[in-house]
């Protein structure tokens, strides 16, 4: 048993949902109790999707356990096929259903459903979300890509082609990375054959073997499928993740090599990062002590950008991706730091507290830690939050991605600097806590009107129960209300009279 305050990854069936939701024509029947339906909100609220994830939950209850949960499952399978008409059906169990051993996959296969069934075995007590996504994607690719064999020859005159593997629903900036990577490849004259799982149909997966090579954009999801495609169809994999200026150049060189094209000339000024980093006002960034934590891909990529492209010093590097522990250890050795491979939030917190970095590049979980320790922080990796799906284009990969990294890593440091200056000049007559913001002019500093009603002690206490972010408004409204009515002392009744008055 493990004590978990926060978790970096959900259970493996969440990973399967990320793949199913990313694709078209795939439905997932999940043998699970009703509470597991919370997972829908990850997609509809965090990612703001306008459709429910393509998942049917059996939602069995305690009273079903004595009887026939398998019958419930059969009914759910029939209904899902009828209503959603999928091209492929994924069938699996969540943690609780795993314990009751109904074998949903086997059962579905024996039912003679009118659609191909892919059973998913995702051990919920051993594995986690990314593993579940990778396994699901691998099973889908295996089932749809056809029997192993030689790759079909590229039609004469056609450009070299590649597949982009790994982007999923609920992925950290996957939507935006994809646009950047497509642009990089288009610049080289390489066509994109299939992007999967995001936006792909099972029929698209059948076309995977037509590409000359595979781009493993997100190894946490795509690596097992890419390895199988390599083995089965002799498709090499491009494993450079183009996060940062240097890695983007390496990516382009590797893509050209795999496509049989001449090496690309380094694109001058493709990203503003190099100049921004060299411009004199970035001098203060030199040697900033940075702690990195995230999935292995983003954490390792960030370490290179931090040291080579921003001149930071990496003081800690870690990841919750146990499947990529070897890669994380190798990277940590390169930067001369102790690797931290754990999904124990408390352990990460303790390490950060001990290292006292000046900047944390982490996940939403590290934001909690950073806030507590008063350290600037930027999110570089999943787990995601609604803020990680900005309305604007905000990639991590490619040339624009490098620009985004510069801005988003440097801004919290600048905010820190401003706070430091504020503290330094605290005693200044024009520039102190009590002084109104200078851009509001002197009007804001005007003394309160003389006829201001006084707050009674009980009313003041009641006001303190109003949430802090609306308390100022409640105070102003109540005072205005009292003034307009010539009330001298504000009581609890006045407070609520005003509240009712201003309600809308």
């Amino acid at each position: 048993m493990r004590l978990a305050v926060w978790t970096y990854e959900g259970p493996p069936h969440i990973g399967a949902m990320r793949v199913a939701t990313a694709m078209q024509g795939v439905h997932y029947v999940l043998h699970a109790p009703q509470g597991d339906t919370y997972a829908d909100l990850l997609f509809t609220m965090i990612e703001r999707r306008g459709e429910r994830p393509p998942v049917t939950y059996t939602t069995f209850e305690a009273r079903d356990l004595g009887g026939d949960t398998a019958a419930l499952l059969r009914a759910a399978l029939h209904e899902a096929c009828e209503r959603h008409q999928p091209q492929v059906l994924l069938v699996g169990a969540s943690c609780t259903a795993e314990l009751i051993q109904d074998d949903p996959g086997g059962l579905a296969r024996r039912m003679g459903l009118p659609v191909p069934v892919i059973p998913l075995e995702l051990p919920a007590y051993q594995r986690r979300e990314n593993w579940g996504a990778a396994e699901t994607f691998y099973q889908l690719v295996r089932a749809c890509a056809g029997p192993p064999g030689p790759r079909p020859p590229r039609p004469a005159g056609a450009p070299p082609r590649c597949n982009l593997l790994g982007p999923t629903a609920l992925g950290f900036r996957h939507r935006d990375d994809l646009l950047e990577v497509r642009a990089l490849l288009a610049g080289l004259g390489i066509a994109v054959n299939v992007v999967a799982p995001l936006g792909a149909t099972p029929a698209d997966l059948a076309r995977l073997p037509e590409a000359d090579f595979n781009v493993v954009l997100y190894p946490e999801v795509a690596e097992p499928a890419a390895r199988w495609l390599e083995r089965s169809f002799g498709q090499p994999a491009l494993r450079v993740v183009p996060i940062g200026v240097g890695a983007t150049q390496d990516f382009l060189a590797e893509a050209a090599r795999l496509a049989g094209l001449p090496p690309p000339a380094p694109a001058a000024a493709a990203s503003r990062l190099p100049w921004y980093s060299r411009s004199v006002d970035s001098t203060y960034l030199t040697g900033k002590r940075v702690f990195l934590f995230g999935d292995a891909t983003h954490a390792i990529a960030a370490a290179r950008v931090a040291t080579e492209e921003l001149g930071f010093e990496v003081v800690g590097l870690g990841s919750y991706s146990r499947e990529f522990a070897r890669e994380v250890r190798a990277a940590a050795a390169q930067y001369g730091v102790e690797p931290l491979v754990t999904d124990d939030y408390l352990e990460v917190e303790a390490r950060i507290a001990e290292l006292q970095p000046e900047l944390i590049l982490g996940t939403q979980m590290e934001r909690h830690i950073a806030k507590r320790l008063g350290i600037p922080c930027t999110v570089i990796s999943a787990p995601v939050h609604v803020q990680d799906f900005p309305a604007r284009h905000s990639p991590q990969m490619g040339h624009e991605g490098a620009n985004v990294l510069f801005d988003s890593w440097v801004h919290p440091l600048m905010m820190g600097l401003e706070e430091h200056l504020l503290a330094m000049f605290r005693e200044d007559t024009e520039f102190n806590d009590a002084a109104p913001p200078s851009h509001l002019g002197h009007a804001a500093a005007a003394p309160p009107p003389p006829d201001l009603a006084a707050w009674g002690a009980e009313a003041e206490r009641e006001l303190q129960k109003v949430p802090f972010f609306v308390r100022g408004k409640a105070r102003r409204n109540t005072e205005r209300f009292a003034r307009e009515r010539g009330i001298v002392t504000i009581t609890v009744e006045t407070l609520y009279d005003a509240k009712a008055h201003f309600a809308r």
Binding site: R2, I14, T56, C95, L99, K499, R504
Partner: protein
């Protein structure tokens, strides 16, 4: 709406025989663990340790995530392969986890071990574990247990189970007192306390208390009022201690709050004149506040998906005080006895449904094209994308909505999605 039949109108005719559309099928509801998200804020020296899976931890984090920046007073003891394979003794493992937790959070006075789907299925005996740990950690920490599992409880029923677990801990008394049960926001609790005290009702206690050690005493002369409609088990536990429920509608809206307070006043033999004297001003204020919002809501048709069991009282409030028309009032569980006063107030013929078959209910909702759909977080954006205005229901359990001063706030929660649509030109 096949299968749903009209309610016989008027009080007195509503009973166990009331026809309701009962459905079984896929549900889209939270499990009882979710109530930890507000309970851990309410009882400030209590800690909730879920004994469950990674899914349980992920659920709590997803449901609570955005709202909590301090370290929460809840955590999960995640069952792993070793525990299931018998390589580790689950009880020893649990003891180890609890010891680490208590060492880290020495301010904990009350620890709830909260059962989950997996812990129920593997029949982990949390009652024994709680007794054992209580003895070991005594007197610093008291350890109790209840189940929030999704195979037994939905959403708010977790609070019910938690409160029911607290009842045996309450000291015995033969003194006369009033107990208000159901978690309320502190600001609401204080308002209720002021009103009830002004009426001369007391001693007055609340369950759950703000601090675990302030648990009220209970006995045959305790009368209690429900502040929430989902407390079946807690009521049974209190009745087993001799306490008696004061039947009343729930304190939502001006009318609901008045009827709720009046039920207590009558039980205390307080005359109508005194009652009006104490409540008139606040009630008038509440009605005034509702007036402006009524303009936007009157005549609007509302559809409830099952969620918190608050649906029936909410439908009563929306229809009677704001002139809305309930098209379907879905609830995960219809507690006929505790809702009797509410059901009597609902407009005759209001279609009710209990349980859920999600796809069929979505079909009914789409066919009815309500002006406002009250539903869970998983459905809200998809329905919005289909052009239906929605109010996500989880806000109704996190926001202070009970009592006179919150009546307009409650109405605003329903008006805002419509007002927003009026404003937006994109």
């Amino acid at each position: 709406m096949s299968g749903a039949s009209a309610l016989p109108g008027g009080p007195g005719t509503v009973g166990a025989a009331m026809p309701v559309l009962r459905e079984r099928g896929q549900r889209a509801v939270f499990c009882g663990l979710t109530s930890i998200v507000w309970l851990h804020r309410k009882v400030q020296d209590a800690f909730f340790l879920v004994v469950g899976s990674r899914t349980c931890a992920h659920l709590l984090q997803s449901a609570a995530g955005v709202m909590i920046f301090a370290e929460p007073r809840f955590a999960t003891a995640i069952i792993e392969e070793r525990d299931l394979a018998g390589l580790a003794d689950a009880n020893e493992e649990l003891d180890r986890v609890v010891e680490r937790l208590v060492a880290r959070r020495p301010e904990i006075r009350l620890l709830f071990l909260v059962g989950s789907c997996p812990s129920e299925v593997i029949k982990l005996d949390l009652a024994r574990a709680a007794a054992r740990l209580s003895q070991r950690l005594s007197p610093a920490v008291r350890v109790l247990h209840y189940s929030g599992s999704g195979i037994e409880t939905t959403f708010t029923q977790g609070e019910d189970a938690c409160l029911a677990a607290l009842v045996p801990e309450m000291p015995a008394t033969t003194d006369r007192s009033l107990l208000v049960i159901g978690a309320l926001a502190e600001v609401v609790e204080d308002q209720m306390r002021r009103l009830l005290t002004a009426l001369g009702i007391g001693p007055l206690h609340f369950l759950p208390p703000r601090r675990a050690q302030d648990l009220a005493a209970v006995g045959p002369n305790t009368r209690f009022l429900l502040a929430q409609p989902f407390l079946g088990d807690a009521v049974r536990a209190l009745e087993a201690r001799g306490a008696r429920r004061i039947p009343a509608p729930f304190p939502l809206g001006a009318e609901g709050t008045t009827l709720w307070l009046r039920a207590a006043a009558e039980a205390w033999g307080i005359g109508p004149a005194r009652f009006r004297e104490v409540t008139a001003m606040a009630e008038r204020r509440a009605r005034e506040g509702l007036l402006r919002i009524r303009d936007r809501l009157a005549g609007q048709r509302v559809f409830f998906f099952p969620d918190s069991q608050l649906e029936v009282p909410l439908a009563r409030f929306l229809s009677r005080e704001l002139g809305m028309v309930p098209l379907e009032v879905g609830t995960p569980y219809l507690h006929r006895e505790h809702l009797a006063e509410e059901l009597a107030l609902l407009p005759a013929g209001t279609p009710l449904s209990e349980g859920q078959h999600l796809e069929r209910q979505l079909d009914r909702c789409r066919a009815a094209r309500p002006d406002l759909t009250v539903c869970g977080l998983g459905l809200a954006n998809p329905l919005e994308a289909e052009g239906l205005a929605t109010k996500w229901s989880i806000e109704l359990v996190f926001t202070p909505i009970q009592g006179y001063e919150q009546a307009a706030d409650l109405a605003s929660l329903f008006a805002r999605p419509l007002v927003r649509r009026d404003r937006l030109a994109v």
